[in-house]
Assembly symmetry: C2
Homo-oligomer: 588 residues x 2
């Protein structure tokens, strides 16, 4: 079944899990109201469903190809990208000053999710561009902004992130690409970068590379990395395209998934060096890059949600049509739709619950960024920024872990047909895997959560998050609504587990090995607790929503069947390190 | 890194987890001793490592192709298959009467594991042949046996299983292929079968299809299905090949994995009907097919172990070489091998623990089959047959679930390189998925466990299994060896959870919906408990083995980090059905 943007689920999560009303209120502009947001989400959903989704399988089957003139994208992608620009979809959250719509990150996130569901490989191009726009907006000189931002916001030019080198993947200390001062304020860049998404393509006239490199006199490590803007074609003073820069694609990768997203090895400075323009200050490139990376981490988390949603829709449609066997209690002739079988139903409910929990967490991050951006006071700004920081690794890693889990369950629901590529279920699973890896592997997200985010404000940030969950659970208990079953009890156990594991990891003097061993279990526990509470809280608060019985049923299923993993995860997080440290464990 | 058969791990599991000494004693033949078994396993491992493994990537990249003359296998596969036959590997467990080696199923299982690790797509062909050999041996007439078995045992001809039709996947009631009596004792077969592994290929002169079909006067449902032997080429009285039978491959599937294993749509009876020979009695085909299917289920479980082992070796080798960042406590210059990082170590230990636990369970099934086969008394025979029956769905589903889980972790350990097909990690993940689906989906295995296997001997069979686990745990507690840490306590909790969930599912009058909703969680719980206890028991019993410290460390890690999921699984199994049954759960 082709993907259909789940607009009502998305608006529900924005409204009841992420707090759209507060985001709108904080924005404080007259034009932004709930109806306008709904119309944007609806239109974006239409574009995703009608225009983007049909390109997904074409892209998977044809992939991107490297020819003598560079990368050729899949058939029809250039035209689709033209429609994308024409529709004005490239600059949803970008500054109006440069042609963007200036809408909240929450709205952008809802759009990103739908576009990624429709075609992850396609949506990566605008996602990378948005990150580049954000970095140049935050750190670029006025001249750079004037020359590049309008066309990057419109989508006429696209952007890339050039961090990785063969020896420098997760560890950017090891970056070796070098930059030389040209004497005229510009720089010359030399070196090779790998895994560059849309490093080359034929959908636009120009590509704007953001490249990490070292100056000759730079200190070692990440304190000696600078960020440069390196366009594929230089830009003349009148804005027209000038000479071809000394930057080219060398090869593209043959990957398990996202076949149509060209993953390029880029070579800078084959000849005299690629002309580069400094973004921000010399040797402070990492800070600029982090601007892009945080944006990108939320975006990748949303890819997890997106593929989970697409896989769920696909599996539910198949399970509603495919008939095998007779389900218990079924009367009448013939075989039952497999959705009636308890085990298939359990898979589908697990898919749905994990998807919606991850969506709630991602949207919460987006809303926190909006609330921080528009905060009237420093205390709120700091609290909301810290909340977004705390939840970003959870949004990235939990969502992409469940993205793979849900996509694999989607294949399973299809039975033998799921393994056949024509069915489409396998593509979601193949595509989803990369989201657990790029933009910082999920292991690195977990370590970031434990080592950098838990200590924010001396632990008060995470304690406030736990208090927020307990507050929701208090309301849930007070409501006494029977439809919730044991939801409050099970989620209280989960939050208790999270609380104890948090206290354990915040102990003074806890060693790094213990933290790193615990990190992944702790992050999963965090995601289950936060996601479960958000589902329950949203269901509770949506008093007049016609979908409320369904929301309550899902919150309950999640609490009673998925959040119950929390106890085991707590034990792993608190006690797991010792057995893991045994030197005999992995053999000689 | 290329796969290397883990002969010492395999012999350890045979000896200490599966009870090879008892298997040898029960066989009671003078030739079979531990040294002989070790030499067979070593030689089979050499063949897997040196001859089969190098064909794995060639097969993945080239796949099987359908041409005008039928299916062409990947380059070099015909020659490899020739070596396979020449080495005598096709008939390890087959009856000596037909040229087999007559070795225990346990030895065959060890070999199957290694061959599947080396190349799952290749090893499927002999696996299917072995199933066909078993069915014909058990149910075929003497004439059929004489005509076909020698060449099938040698591997000169291969075998297939033709069950599935488009409308009849998990539910064989719906089989429509029809058979007509030809009047001369033979039959004519008409119909289409899908998903036929090695339904056609160019590695042998003949292929022996076992086909389920209905006679015109057959009762409806599975009581009206008969099994027929349908050779690709008819066989003359002198054993030479005769006319081409009216059976052909129509198309092959484009799959996510096992590209080189041709998955065929077969057409029988385009013209006058394919000549078929009845196997067993008319309308009793399902019983014959089950002979093949039980064999195949253990074989598929071993594929899960096999891919997990291969993925683990691959990931461990990469993590030992790849350097990124500095691990806590590391001194000296430069970056640390990523195996030193806690989170990577946790992934590798999880991979290793799950692999070895699944191996222990599969080998236990094999040993139980051997003990049943050679039992001196009916009580032992029944007990061992029932034990094998009970554990077969666990061996199939737990092992293949962890096969996918471990292969996905293997990709994750590789980081970005894992997503690149050249690395080889992705192939394990793509190949592994099908094992969760075919030979009865893992959901169906779980339902089989709960609905058909728990009631064996009125529940005494499963109670004996739990008592066996408690017995091992008693020995573990009595040993007081400090290296085990909290192993005994954590595994006791797991077995307690299993015990309570078992009692819950054995209650009189428990309804089918509850059982089916609980099934998958229960099976996972069973696998964790049985696997964890087997690892601990084997480590405990191997007093003089030089690898003992490593075995103890792994058993401890498993108990303290993986078996701790049991409590949550128990809750899901016992309480999960109610929330799952809510009609609002999956929406309108």
């Amino acid at each position: 079944m082709p993907y259909r943007a789940p607009v009502s689920d998305i608006l529900f999560a924005m409204q009841h899990a992420a707090g759209l009303p507060q985001v709108i209120e904080a924005a404080g502009t007259g034009d932004l109201d709930a109806d306008f947001v709904a119309s944007i989400v609806e239109e974006a959903g239409k574009f995703a469903t009608d225009r983007i989704a049909p390109s997904n399988r074409v892209g998977d089957q044809n992939g991107a190809k490297l020819g003598p003139d560079g990368v050729k994208t899949a058939p029809g992608w250039g035209a689709l990208y033209g429609e994308w620009i024409a529709g004005g979809w490239n600059g949803v959250a970008a500054a109006p000053e440069f042609g963007g719509m200036g809408l909240p990150v929450l709205v952008q996130s809802a759009c990103n999710e739908m576009w990624s569901s429709a075609n992850m490989a396609f949506s990566l191009c605008p996602l990378l561009t948005a990150g580049a726009v954000e970095a140049v907006t935050a750190h670029g000189s006025d001249a750079l902004k004037q020359t590049f931002l309008h066309k990057m916001v419109s989508g006429e030019w696209t952007g890339t992130m050039n961090l990785t080198e063969p020896q420098a993947g997760s560890d950017l200390n090891a970056v070796r690409a070098r930059a030389e001062r040209a004497g005229d304020g510009t720089y010359r860049i030399f070196g090779q970068k790998i895994f560059i998404t849309y490093g080359d393509h034929d959908m636009t006239d120009n590509i704007v590379h953001l490249v990490l490199a070292r100056l000759p006199d730079a200190p070692p490590g990440t304190r000696g990395i600078s960020l440069f803007l390196v366009p594929k074609f230089l830009v003349n003073d009148d804005g027209s395209l000038g000479a071809r820069n000394d930057a080219r694609v060398h090869s593209i990768e043959h990957k398990m998934g996202i076949h149509a997203s060209p993953t390029c090895t880029m070579v800078f400075g084959d000849h005299d060096g690629a002309v580069g323009y400094l973004v921000g200050q010399e040797n402070r490139g990492l800070a600029c890059m982090f601007t892009m990376m945080n944006n990108a981490r939320l975006g990748v988390g949303l890819q997890g949600v997106a593929l989970a949603e697409a896989a769920y829709q696909h599996a539910l449609a198949y399970a509603s049509e495919r008939r095998q066997g007779r389900a218990p209690g079924e009367t009448g002739e013939g075989m039952s739709a497999i959705v009636k079988h308890g085990d298939v139903r359990r898979m589908l409910a697990t898919m749905k619950g994990l998807t919606q929990a991850a969506r709630a967490i991602c949207y919460l991050v987006a809303a926190s960024l909006d609330l921080a951006h528009n905060a009237k006071d420093d205390v709120t700004k700091k609290a909301m920024n810290e909340r977004a920081s705390l939840l970003t690794p959870v949004a990235k890693a939990f969502s992409t872990d469940i993205g793979s889990q849900v996509a694999a369950l989607g294949v399973q629901v299809h039975g033998g047909m799921g393994f056949i590529e024509e069915t489409g279920a396998a593509q979601f699973m193949r595509d989803a895997k990369i989201a657990e890896i790029y933009e910082g592997t999920n292991g690195i997200q977990a370590i970031d959560l434990v080592q950098r985010k838990l200590p924010l404000s001396g632990g008060d940030c995470v304690r406030a998050e736990i208090a927020d969950m307990r507050n929701t659970l208090g309301q849930l208990r007070a409501s006494n609504e029977p439809g919730f079953g044991k939801t409050a009890a099970r989620l209280t156990e989960a939050v208790d587990s999270l609380d104890r594991a948090t206290q354990f990891l915040l102990r003074p003097g806890v060693d790094q090995d213990t933290m790193q061993s615990a990190a992944t279990s702790y992050l999963r526990l965090f995601g289950l607790a936060r996601g479960g509470v958000s589902l329950a809280g949203a269901a509770l608060s949506a008093k007049d929503d016609p979908s409320r019985p369904e929301r309550i049923a899902l919150a309950r299923f999640f609490a009673e069947n998925l959040a119950v993993a929390s106890g085991g995860l707590e034990t792993m997080a608190i006690e797991g390190a010792e057995s893991l440290a045994c030197p005999d464990l992995l053999g000689a």
